[in-house]
Structures are given as structure tokens and as C-alpha cells.
């Protein structure tokens, strides 16, 4: 399966901006299930300075600055992705590993733990509380297989929480999401991660896209997709296994990964600083289409 992804972000400023600095995390990385064939980043106006590098997690970063006055900033990332493995992975026996077993294996294998360990600690965005921990325990009773427990947690979040665009922002604390049972994909991913970490298991945040399929007979419009987020759980011998609580599915060939980190802050698609006294409006359009 091959996809062409077009992700365009346009800022329109009320007052001209003389300087802006940006960090983009929009170049999809290679994973076991996908190859990134090509990426083209088009920025207008032409940046005065562009640098590309890989961050600590191996995500691909584009840094750029615009040092002349401009009234609008447009960033268009076009990439071609090939998904290589079909949906279900060979889970096999490892999927039966219990919570205790996974913890023990991480204790014993220091090499493995050295990298995986950082995904066990809570971060500001995945801060747990009593309510969240209690919510997690219902899916993670002692002795249960981690895989089964996570599927259960994913299903419960999907059922208990209402997908409500606009209810939260980047800075809404997780406790509000928990209390109100509302949020968007980032919130659900953070909530699941907080739950799993409260049990003492490693989980990470994945940023990417999902292909939306219109109802039969309706033609798909361009640019109506959105960036998406989900989470991964680490199970020894299996590696990182993805879960999408917003759609209650284990991501397969309709999910395209950009990158990952401990939480949103590590893989925010676009972060910037601009020097301006005015405000700005923002429009984002994402399109994920199959290439035949």
C-alpha cells in the first residue's frame, strides 16, 4: 500500500512578523512497517536558514528561521509512504507475557531497560493522579497479559470518552480530560500512556496520520484528513506494539507514523517562536491518498 500525504500549514499574521524560528517534526521516519520514499518540504517565504537533523529519539527534524518581514507563513510537507506489512503482526506466544513477567524481564535485561526505561516515568503531559491510576487498574489486574490488558484499556477509553474537538488545547492537563471524559486523539493517547505508566510499564506517544475512508459511494474530498496520534506499549521480544484508542483499533496499514517520544512535547509537529505584537490565524489541511 502506498500513500501520498500532503500536510499544509498556513499562518496569517495580523501584523507583519520580522523574525520567526520553527522546529518541524513532519518527516515520517522508517519503521518496521513503513518506508518513507520521499519527502519534500516547501516553505514560503524562503527561509533564511534551514537545518536538518535527527533528534534524540531518531525523529527527523527540520529547523528553519525567517529573518525578513512577512505577513504569511506557509509550510507544505509532501511525502510518499509505502506500508510494508499488512495489519496484524505475528503476536504469537509473546503476547501472553503478564504484567509481572514484562517488569521482571525489563529488570533483568539492563541493555534493553536502558533505552526502554525512559518511557516508564510520567512526564508533565502524562501526569497521573489517583483517579487515573484507579482507571488503569481496572484493565491491569495482577497476572493479566499486558497485550490483553492494553486492548481492554483501549476499548474502555474508546467507549467511556467522547471525541470532542475544541474541548482541549495543547496545555489542558490530563486530569481535566479524565474528569470530563472528553478530548481528542492527543488526549486519549496521553491518558492511555499515563495509565500504563502508572502500572509501571513503558508506553510512548506516536504522532502520525490516518487514512479516512468516506462512506461507500461518496467521493473523498482533498484536505479533509487530520494529523493523528496514538500510543505504543513495549513488550519484550515483540517490541513496541501500537494501539489507537480514538478508533479502538490496533494500527495497521491505514496508520502512517511520523515519529514518537515520551509525550506530545517530544514530537510536536510544528513548534515556533515569532517576534510580533499581533496575533495570528492558522489553517491546517492534511490529505492522505492512496497511490495506485
Amino acid at each position: 500500500m502506498k500513500y501520498k500525504i500532503t500536510h499544509q500549514t498556513i499562518y496569517t499574521y495580523n501584523e507583519p512578523v520580522s523574525l520567526c524560528y520553527n522546529v518541524l517534526r513532519l518527516t515520517p521516519r522508517h519503521t518496521y512497517s513503513q518506508v518513507c520514499n520521499s519527502v519534500v518540504v516547501k516553505i514560503h517565504p524562503e527561509p533564511d536558514n534551514t537545518q536538518e537533523y535527527e533528534d534524540f529519539f531518531g525523529n527527523k527534524i527540520t529547523y528553519f528561521s525567517i529573518e525578513k518581514e512577512h505577513a504569511q507563513l506557509s509550510v507544505k510537507v509532501s511525502s510518499v509512504i509505502e506500508k510494508r506489512v499488512s495489519a496484524a503482526r505475528e503476536i504469537g506466544l509473546y503476547g501472553n507475557a503478564t504484567i509481572e513477567k514484562v517488569k521482571q524481564q525489563l529488570q533483568e535485561n539492563k541493555q534493553e531497560a536502558a533505552d526502554i526505561g525512559q518511557y516508564i516515568f510520567e512526564t508533565t503531559m502524562t501526569a497521573s493522579n489517583m483517579e487515573i491510576a484507579a482507571y488503569a487498574r481496572q484493565s491491569f489486574p495482577p497476572g493479566r497479559a499486558v497485550l490483553e490488558a492494553t486492548i481492554d484499556l483501549m476499548r474502555r477509553i474508546y467507549t467511556d470518552f467522547k471525541f470532542t474537538p475544541g474541548f482541549t488545547t495543547v496545555s489542558t492537563p490530563l486530569e481535566v480530560v479524565m474528569r470530563e471524559h472528553k478530548g481528542v486523539c492527543q488526549d486519549f493517547a496521553h491518558l492511555a500512556i499515563a495509565c500504563i505508566r502508572s502500572i509501571g510499564l513503558p508506553a510512548r506517544y506516536v504522532s502520525g496520520y490516518i487514512e479516512t475512508v468516506p462512506p461507500p459511494g461518496v467521493e473523498k474530498l482533498f484536505g479533509v484528513d487530520a494529523s493523528h496520534a496514538w500510543f505504543s506499549v513495549y513488550i519484550p521480544h515483540l517490541g513496541w506494539v501500537d494501539f489507537d484508542p480514538t478508533n479502538n483499533i490496533m494500527p495497521g496499514d491505514q496508520h502512517i507514523t511520523i515519529g514518537w517520544g515520551r509525550d506530545y512535547a517530544d514530537i510536536a509537529p510544528m513548534r515556533g517562536i515569532l517576534l510580533s505584537s499581533g496575533t495570528h490565524t492558522l489553517s491546517v489541511s492534511v490529505d492522505v491518498s492512496r497511490i495506485r
Partner: protein, 842 residues
Amino acid sequence: MDQFADQAKLPGITGEEEKMPPHWETFFQSYSRLGNDEIATRNEDLTRLMRENGVTYNIYGDPSGLNRPWKLDMIPFLMSKEEWTSIEAGLQQRAQLLNAILEDIYGDRKLIRHGILPFELLYNHPGFLRQCCGIKLPGRHHLVMYSADLARSRDGRVWVVNDRTQAPSGSGYALENRTAMTRVVPELFEGLKVRHLAPYFNTLQQSLTALAPQQRGRLRQPSSPRIVILTPGSSNETYFEHAYLSSYLGFTLVQGNDLVVKDNFVWLKTMGGLERVDVILRRVDDNYCDPLELKADSQLGVPGLLQAVRSGHVTIANPIGSSILENPGLMPFLQSMARFFLSEDLLIPTIASWWCGQPKELKYVLNHLPSLVIKTIYRHPSGSSSIDGASLSAVQLQQLKARILANPALYVGQEKVDISTTPSLIDGHIEPRQVLFRSFLVSSGENYVAMEGGLCRTSSDQGNFVISNQSGGFSKDAWILSPEPHRNFNVLKEVAGYNAPDEDNLTSHAAENLFWVGRYTERVLGNARFLRTVMQFLAEGNKLATDSTQLTEKYLLEALTQNTFTYPGFTGPDSAEQLAQPWEELKDVLLNAKRTGSIKYNFLQFQRAIHEVRDHWSTDTWRVLRTMEEELAQDIPLSHHGHIRMLHTLDNLITFIIAFIGLNRESISREQGWRVLDTGRKIEQSLLLLTMLRTTLVNKTNDQVDYHLQQSVLMSHECLVNYRYKYRQPIDIRLVLDFMLFEPNNPRSLTHLINRLTVHLKHLPKDHAGHALTGYERLILEADTLLKLSDKDTLSTPGTEDTYTQLDEFLTRMYGLLAAIPDVISKTYFKHELTPRSFDVL
């Protein structure tokens, strides 16, 4: 000697031994020769010197004011050559070790991969900045500066209590302590060969210079990299030191918004444009350095800085991310890390510590809580990160236990060191006090150079375990005694050492604040003189209350409100009561700090601007400032006696301001700085003069009132005597205008002010040569022309029966021209900080 016989038994001098070491004996001989009275006097001198030099340690959130005076104990901390040699070697080893750890953490992370350091201590620590991984420094060491707090236990062994690796502070205070000691109590150095501090600072300077990135720009010579000290600003607790080191080392003192990243290089905003920065000595915490990649809401950093570092275009010392080493959790693993990296054992042992992330250690800590000090692996921004188990109640111990169990990897238990004491001068008596010794090291070539001295801090009361500047202890000078004969102490050599500030352009920040210092200087002075004139008139006028004196009073009081901008004051519909009983309002205009336009208010603005550029003032200037502060700090009752007191306060204030102005020329060593300041003064003087003439002379009343008002104008400008001397005629509006507007030899006349301004403005840096005038040059030319085309006879001819219409028009036009100049200057030279705003897109 009798009174000191007991000292021999003081712990801290002798450890467990009975006999006083020879260097203490020598010291106390000099000390007793001074005698008790002299010691008390010298102690006062020391306190006064510290206060006058403005040596302060700011306390965040201290309601009694920002600046807490630095307290220096006259009795130093002595250390023999032998003792120092072993400590020095231990510290150098520790610096090498911490450097290796830092390089590894941001490089290969062998320590984690080989299981020498538990990963939790790294990944769980907010000081580990993943953004900084892979960044290399040009020099030999990643850790450029290192500082350690040392303590001696009662059995004589030396321990490292804290490691400071992020932005170690204190070296400037150590230097200031030494300078004060040599000045106030030189006799105490007799017979003791005390090591100098200067070599450390020379090395620091050389090492930072060597850190400049190799590829050079076209603008500067390779031999003179631009080094700046990045400070969080004047409210930071150690701001004094930032300014002090800036002057001493000759590095420009900057705040985050003085810098800008362009083309991936770091630039300093100066009056002459942008100048490239090569090395940043930072005093801003890691996370605050770059709002783009680190803490997004930081206003203290520079957006894009980390990328400039990553590209190798600028070097930051210590590198961003080095706070990871300020981590008590590393302590238990230091010995094995020393073996791993250096194949050596630690020369200075670490205090026995147990990291609770391991089951056995956790159990030990929980079982021994009351006898341990519990630390978190990083400092909570909220408060103390160190808890003495012995100080907790049973309930508190249970709570602490629960907190540790909830998150054991965050906690470390540490053995309590029974810190030894040293003799300290407390309220005129010598008493033992626990002491911490802070040492400073800087990378130099393959090794580290340690300051041969340091900063000592003592506990505020006997037996107090916690030592910090915040809790009010004393500081001490530390003397390392060297037997080498050529190291004889030389007062002059130690005190001298200030580098001449470089001839670079002023930073925009400094320019802006110096300009405002100039304006507020004159605003305070002008208003104080006018207020004094008004008060004097009231005090005298009350005795002969005729109609005309009452009318004059009314006009003067109204003019006072207009000149100070303290509306409604004596103007407006409800002013009858104020006019009848003016003293309360007058006092308010003098002393109400919260009232915009009051003298106290403007004085505080003046003071704030001065502190923003505190590296520009001489010691004498600080002394004057302190005296002014004290003068204005007192309250004055509303009584006849109070009236005299207020006048007295005004007299003093005026004297101090004039002293301050007199010191400016020699204090501000940089020509450009003085010009900017004086431009501010002359503009403010002109505007005040124009306002006063407009509010007092434009209306024509009767001869008696007009006379009084004209006289007040002359008095407020201290021109009455000169006027009489020049004209030898009674006061008359035509001559008053001549003297105040046109007389070039009167330094307070508008002609003189405009002449000075024209010269100053011509000398400001221009980015283009040639014929075209800048905006402010046009304005001053227009003002000058307007003045030259006017004359005293026209202006003093009444247009209507009760108004000098042409005078009014002249003053209004002139005010408009001159008042526009600051805006143009500001737009051209001062930084226009648009607040950096961060955004995140989902």
C-alpha cells in the same frame, strides 16, 4: 593573649588536637594587636564598605526589598598549604570525573549501557536535556567551570557536600570579600603569605577566550572574540556578582533580549548595530536558555540559541544541560565511575549515600531515616530539596516514608556529616560556627585550575546544620597560606585588576537605561527644586497673608501639579481644600512612592534604571545612592517641624543628585555611555524648563504676582544670583526670558541645552555617512532655528490683556519638537523587544 587562650580549644581550628596551629597563632597575634575597640571600628568599616559598594545578595520574594547587604566576617578561614594541596588535587580529579560523566551523558551513554549508572538517574532527571545530546564543545573539556561545597568533619576529614556545575556562583563575592579585607584590615595579613585570587580569573578569561568557535566572521579580529555574561536580570539573587564579574573580566553584561539569533549566529544588539557573539558565560538556568527548544514560556533566553550552539557558531559555558550533574543520586556511583573513566579511586571521598531506586538501599534508608539527610535527585523549583531526618516528628517521618515509597528512584539518603566549626566574629565575640567552603575551578589545557581561595559561608547560629545565604549566615574570606617567599602579599596588586571596559558600542539595553537614568536624574532634581521653592514661599508667605501672596500661592501650587504630572492635585474642581491646606498634598508629592509623578516615585524609577546598568557606576556613585535611599526612606510628620524636615530632605536630595551628576563624567568610562546619559538629561531639562515657563509666565496677572512667579522660576533654576549679577535690574519678564531662553552662558538656558544636544546627537553612531540628516538631527535643527528666529522683545509682548500669546505659541511649538526626539532616538538605538511568543500546532 589571655582572651584568646580559649580559642586554642575551639573546634574548627584544631580539629581534635590540643595545640593551635602556627598560622592561627600568627593570625590571632595580629588580631589581638588591633585591640577590641579597633576591631569593633574596623568591623563597622567592613560593613559600611560592603553596603556602599552595593554588595548585595537578592532574596526572591523578600518583602523588605530586593537587596540584602552581603555580610562578611572579619575573621577569615585559614587553610595550610599542605591541606590545600591535597584538596586541590582531589577537586581537580573530581572536575575531570564530572567532565567525563557529562561528556558521556550527552554522548555515547556508556555509563548507562554498561550498567554503571542506573538509567533512572538520567532519564528521570529533568536536568537531562535530550535536545542537547550530541553537542560538542571546541575545548578539551565539556565542563568548563566547576564549583564544589566542601565541609570538614570534626575528625578532620574533608567531604564534598554539593557539586555546582550549571552556573556556579560565588567567585565574584569571593573576590569582593578579599578586596574588602585588604582594604579594611591589612594588618591581619601580616606574617601570613596569603595566595592571590587573580590567577584564577586570568585563567577563566583565557579559557573562555579559547572557547571561541574557530571559523571567524568578517567583522572582528580572531584575537578578540566577543564574550558576554548572560544574566537573568537585576532581580536575580546574584545579580551583583554578574555585574561585578562583567566589569572585572571586561565581558559585556547582557540579558536574553539583548541577543538575537540570525543566520544561525548569535548577535548582540548595540547602538552601532548587531555585533557577533562568540562565547556566552551563562548565569541563566539550562531550561530557560531557548524558548524554542526548551521551556517555551521563558522570557530569559534567546530563541534559536540551541541551534546556533548545535551548529558550532557560539559556545556556551557551562554547556546547556550541565545541571544534570547537580544530582545527589550520582554520589553513590561516583567511586565506580572514577574507576571506569580514570582508573583511579576518589581522592576526596563522597558522603556515604544510598539511592532509593535499589531495593537494598531503599530498605536501609527507610530504616535509618532519623539519622540521615534525605535529598531528591533534582532541586524542586518549589522549595528545599534537602530534609534533615532528625528534625522531623514521628508523623512527618511517616509522611516522608510514604513519599519515598511512592517514588523511590527520586530519593537519596545521605549520611549526616558533623561539620566542624571555625572561629567567627559574632556580635563582638569570637564563637565557633559551622563552615562550608566553596571552591572554584576552571578548565585550562588538559587540567583544571582551582582558585587559591574561595567563598566560605557560616551557619547563622550555633549548631545550625543548614548553611545558605538565604537563611542569613555570614560569609568569610578564605586564605590559603603558602610558604613561598615571593608570594608575599601585595595589597595593590590584589585590588587592581579591573580591566578597562572595551571600546565597543554600548548594548541597546545599556543605552536605553543610561538615557533614562539621565532623564530621571533631571526629573527628580528639577521637581525637587521647584517643590522646594514652593514650600519656601508657603512657609514665608503665611506670615504676611496679602491677596497677592495668596494668589501667587495658588498659581505656584497649580504649576507644581502641572510640572510634576500629579493630577488632579491642586488643579481641578475639587482643589479648594487642597489649596487651603496644601502641606498634606505637598508631602504626598514628595514621599508617596505609589503616586505616579511624585519625587519618591521618580526616584525609584531612577534607581531601577541604575540597577539595570549597575556595571557602569563607580564605588563613589554607590555611596551617594545609598545615602539618597536612606534620606527618602524616612517618614516625616505633618507639623511645623515637619515642614522644616521636608525642606531639609529636599536640600539633601538636591545635594546628592548634584553629587551624582558630578560623578557621572568620571564614573562612566565610556564616552558613548556618558553621551547617551547626558542626552537624556538635557532633553529632560529642556522639557521641564518649557513646562515651567508655560505654567508660570504665560498668564499675566498683576505686577506683584507676576514678580513672585518670575522670581520662583529663577529660584527653581538656581539662577536668581546670576540674574542679579548679570542684569543688575529688578526682575522683569523680558530679562527673565532672555536669561532662561537665550543667554548662551547660562548653563540652564534653552540655548545652552540645545547647543549641547546638537553636539551629542551629532556623535551618536550612524549607519550611513553623508549629507542626509537623521530624524533626531532634523528635529534639533528645527528647534535651534526656531529659537534663533525668536527674540525676547516679541515673546515678552502681551498678545491680549492677560496672556503672552506669542510666548505661549513659542513654548508649545518648541515642546513639540523636543519631546519628539526621545521617540526617534528610541526607535533608532534601543531594542524594541517584541515579546517572543511560542506556538504549537497539533
